[in-house]
C-alpha cells in the first residue's frame, strides 16, 4: 500500500519546521541567556504541530514556557500525525476496527509495563553508580534460562515460583560479585574516566555471560511451560457474563480483547514487585540510603552510609530486576543465549526517554514504548517491513530524545561528576 504524496508532504513539512523551530528557539534562548535545556524540544514541537505560527508564538513569548506547554504541544504533534495517517490510509485496520485498536492498546500496555519494569533496573543502576549497564540484557537472559533449567531440567514439575526465586537469587549474586570484583576501583578515583570504564566492564561481563551460557546450554531455543493456567469459570448458560471469558491460556474481555496468561501474570507480578520496590526505596532505611547516595555520595558518606555497599546493592538489585523480567517472560517467548539484545536496547531507549536515572521516568517511558511499538506493528501497512523496522522505532526515539532533550522527560541533573554530564 503506497501512501499518497499528501501524507509525506505533511510529514516533510512537520520535520522541516521542527528542525527550524529547534534551531531558532535554541538560538533565541542562548542570546537571551536563558536555560536552554528545554528549548530544543519545545521549539521542535511547536514547529511540528503549528508550523511557523507556533515558532513565532514561542519566539514572541520567549521566557514563558512551561512543562504543560511542551507536553501539550507534543501531544498535538502526535495527534496531527495520527489524523493525517487515518486520512491517508482509510482502509487500514487501525482506522476501521475499534476492537483491534483496543486489543493492541491493552497488549501494548501490558508489554510496556514489563519493559518499564526492566528499564527500572537500568535506571536504578545509573542513578547510583553512574554506569549504563550493557550487561542488562544478559541478566534478563540468565533469568529466563534459570527458570527453564530449574523447572524443566533439574527439578521437573516443581512450582515455577521456585524457579523464579532461584533466577532472582542467581542474578543478585552475580551482580553483587561482579560489582565487588570489577567496579570498585571506579569510586576511589583510581580511574581517569569512570563512565567509560563502567561501560567497558559491563560490556565485558555481557560478552562473557552470553558465551558462557551458550557453551553450557547450547544454542537451541528452549521454552518453559506457562506458570498459570486460568481456571474455567462455569456459570449457568444464562448467567455467563459477556465481559470476561477464560480459557486455559488466555482471557478474553468483552469478546474482543484477548490477553495471554504469561503476559498477564508477568505484568501483574511486575506491578507487585514495583510496589514493593517503591516501598523499599521510600519507606525503609536502606532505600533512603540508596536515594541519598544517588543524590550526593560524599554527603551520604558523612551521614554514616557506606556508599560502596549501596553501590553493590544497587547493581545487584538492578540485575535482579532484569532477571525477574526474563524469568516471567520465558513462559511467553522461546529462549536463546542471544535473547537479551533486544530488551537491552529497549531498556536503553526507555531510560533515555524517561530521563537517565529517573525511576518514574523509566516506568512511564516503558509504557510509552510499549504503546508505540504496538501501534507500529499493528498499523504500518507493509507487515514485513514493519517487523524489520521495529528495533529502529525505539532507536529513532532514543536519538531524537538525546538530541532534543538529553535529560529526557523526568530527567534531573546529577550533582556528582560520575554521571557524565560534566
Amino acid at each position: 500500500m503506497e501512501f499518497p504524496a499528501l501524507f509525506w508532504g505533511i510529514v516533510g513539512w512537520m520535520i522541516v519546521w521542527a528542525v527550524a523551530g529547534s534551531i531558532i528557539t535554541r538560538r533565541r534562548y542562548l542570546s537571551r541567556d536563558l536555560d536552554t535545556s528545554n528549548a530544543n524540544f519545545i521549539g521542535a514541537m511547536a514547529g511540528a504541530s503549528l508550523g511557523p505560527i507556533g515558532i513565532a508564538a514561542i519566539w514572541a513569548k520567549t521566557p514563558q514556557t512551561s512543562g504543560h506547554l511542551s507536553v501539550g504541544l507534543g501531544l498535538l504533534t502526535v495527534l496531527i500525525v495520527a489524523v493525517t495517517f487515518s486520512f491517508a490510509d482509510p482502509e487500514n485496520i487501525c482506522v476501521t476496527s475499534g476492537s483491534f485498536v483496543a486489543s493492541q492498546f491493552v497488549n501494548g500496555l501490558i508489554i510496556g509495563i514489563i519493559y518499564g519494569f526492566m528499564a527500572l533496573g537500568l535506571s536504578l543502576i545509573f542513578s547510583i553508580l553512574g554506569v549504563v549497564s550493557f550487561a542488562h540484557g544478559e541478566f534478563y537472559m540468565i533469568g529466563g534460562m534459570m527458570v527453564y533449567f530449574i523447572t524443566a531440567v533439574w527439578l521437573p514439575g516443581i512450582n515455577p515460583l521456585v524457579g523464579v526465586l532461584g533466577a532472582c537469587f542467581v542474578a543478585f549474586a552475580t551482580g553483587a560479585i561482579f560489582e565487588r570484583l570489577m567496579l570498585t576501583p571506579m569510586y576511589h578515583g583510581k580511574i581517569d574516566r569512570p563512565v567509560e570504564y563502567g561501560i567497558l566492564a559491563t560490556f565485558g561481563l555481557a560478552f562473557t555471560l552470553q558465551y558462557f551460557v551458550q557453551a553450557l546450554a547450547g544454542a537451541n531455543p528452549v521454552k518453559a511451560k506457562r506458570f498459570v493456567t486460568f481456571p474455567r469459570w462455569s456459570w449457568p448458560e444464562w448467567a455467563d457474563p459477556a465481559w470476561i471469558k477464560t480459557r486455559g491460556g488466555s482471557l478474553t474481555l468483552f469478546d474482543q480483547v484477548s490477553i495471554s496468561s504469561p503476559r498477564l501474570t508477568a505484568a501483574a507480578t511486575c506491578i507487585l514487585v514495583l510496589l514493593s520496590l517503591l516501598y523499599l526505596l521510600n519507606r525503609t532505611w536502606t532505600g533512603k540510603a540508596l536515594r541519598a547516595v544517588s543524590q550526593d555520595r560524599e554527603a551520604a558518606a558523612i551521614a554514616g552510609i557506606n556508599p560502596d555497599r549501596m553501590n553493590m546493592l544497587a547493581f545487584a538489585l538492578g540485575g535482579m530486576i532484569a532477571a525477574l523480567a526474563g524469568a516471567l517472560l520465558v513462559q511467553a517467548f522461546s529462549w536463546l543465549p542471544q535473547v537479551g539484545a533486544i530488551p537491552a536496547m529497549r531498556s536503553f531507549v526507555i531510560v533515555v526517554l524517561g530521563g537517565l536515572g529517573s525511576l518514574p521516568g523509566a516506568f512511564v517511558g516503558g509504557i510509552m514504548v510499549g504503546l508505540v511499538e504496538a501501534a507500529g506493528t499493528g498499523c504500518v501497512p507493509d507487515a514485513q517491513k514493519a517487523a524489520s523496522y521495529i528495533p529502529a522505532y525505539g532507536m529513532i526515539v532514543l536519538t531524537l530524545t538525546l538530541l532534543l532533550r538529553p535529560t529526557g522527560m523526568f530527567g534531573r541533573r546529577f550533582a556528582s561528576s560520575t554521571h557524565g554530564q560534566h
Binding site: 567497558l200 565485558g204 560478552f207 558462557f212 524489520s388 523496522y389 528495533p391 532514543l398 538530541l403 557524565g420
Partner: protein, 401 residues
Amino acid sequence: MRKRIPNIAGAILLLFLLAFPLIYGRPDYDYIMHIMITGFFYAILAASWSMLTGYAGQFSFGHMGFMAIGAYTTGLLCHYIYLSPEPTGICWERGFFDQYLIVVNPIGVTSTTLTQDCLRQAMEVWDGTVKVTKMPVLLGIILGTLMGALAGFLVGMLVLRLRAAYLALFTLGFSEILKAAISAEIEITRGQAGLELPPLYPEGVTLFGHYFGPTAKLPPYYTMLALLLLCLGILAWLARSKFGLFVRALREDQDAAAALGVNITRYKVLVFTITCSMAAAAGAVQGHYVQIITPNMLFLLQMSLVVAMAVIGGLENFVAAAIGAIFLQVMLELLRNSFVIGGIEVDMTIWRLVFFGILLMVTLRFFRNGLIAPLISHFRRSGIAEETIAKRKIDAGGAGS
C-alpha cells in the same frame, strides 16, 4: 639502546608481515591468509577506534556502522551503476561524456520470478554487441570512504553536546537504525540475503610476471596491509601534531580546553570525520575481498570484538591496538580446535569467546593500558629517571657555579 627495542621489534614484525605470504607454503595457505587479512581489517578498525575513544575520549559504539556505510556504498554503486555506449531505453540513464550512465532498477530478492533488471533485458536484446563497463572497484572504495567521512562529519556535528554514556547510547542507536534500515529495504540492499560485490581485483593482477586470479589471497593481503600502514601512518602523524595534543586536551577536560582556546567543535568533528572515514575504507576493502556484505556485520558482537581488541592491545595507543587486533584474531582462530579433557569434550568454538571475555575483564581491571601498550612504554621510558636525575644534577651544578 633499550629505548630502540620497540622500534626494532616493530620493524621485525613489519618485515615478517611483508614476507609472510611469500615464505609460507603449507597446504592451509589460503585459510591462514584469510585469517591474516581479517586480522588487518580488525586492526584498522581497532586503531581508528582507539584514536576516537582513547585519544579523543569520544566513546562511540557506532564504529561498525561507519564501516558498513563504506561497504554498502561501494557495494550498491558497483551493483547498480554501469556505463554503456548505447542507451538501453528502459533504465534511468543520462549522457556521461560520450557514453551513458545507467542506473539499474532494483528488483530485490524475488529471484523466483523470471524478471530481470532493465540492463540485463537490454543486454539480451543487444546480444553481446554492446560492451557495458562496470564501476571500477577503486572508485567505489574511494566513494565509500568519502561517504563514511561525510557520515562521520554529520554524526560529529550532532553529538557535540553529548558526553560519555549519552554519546555511547547515541552512537549505538545510530548503528542499530542503520542495521534495521539495511535489513528492511530488501528491494535495494537485498537485506539478510546479502549484497554481492565484485572481487577486489576483478581481472586479477600480474605481479613480477606472476598472475594472480581474482580469488587469490596474495593481492588482497598486501592491499589490506598497505591500508593498515597508511591508516597507522596518518594516525601517528596526527597524534604527534597539534591535532593530537588538542584532541587529548578535549578528552581530559572539554571545558578547560575550550577556555584555553581549543576550538572544540572543530576538533571533535574532525576526529569523528577522520576515524570514521578509516573505518569506512576498511569496510569497503573488506567487502570487496569477501565479496558479500550482510547487515549482520552490524551486530553488537562485531563491535564488541573491536572494542575488546582495542582494550586488550591498549586503548590509548593505536599501534598497540592494531597489534592486539591482529594477535587476537590469530589466537581466536587457532583456538578453534576442540579437545577432550577427562572424557568431556570441550567445544572450543564457544569457550574461546568465554576466555576472550574473561581476558577482556581481567585486562580492564588490572592492566588499564592494555597488555601491549605498557610493554612499548616500558622500553620507551626506561632510563628516563636516571636521565632526569643526571640532568637535574647538571642544572644544579650549573646554577651553583
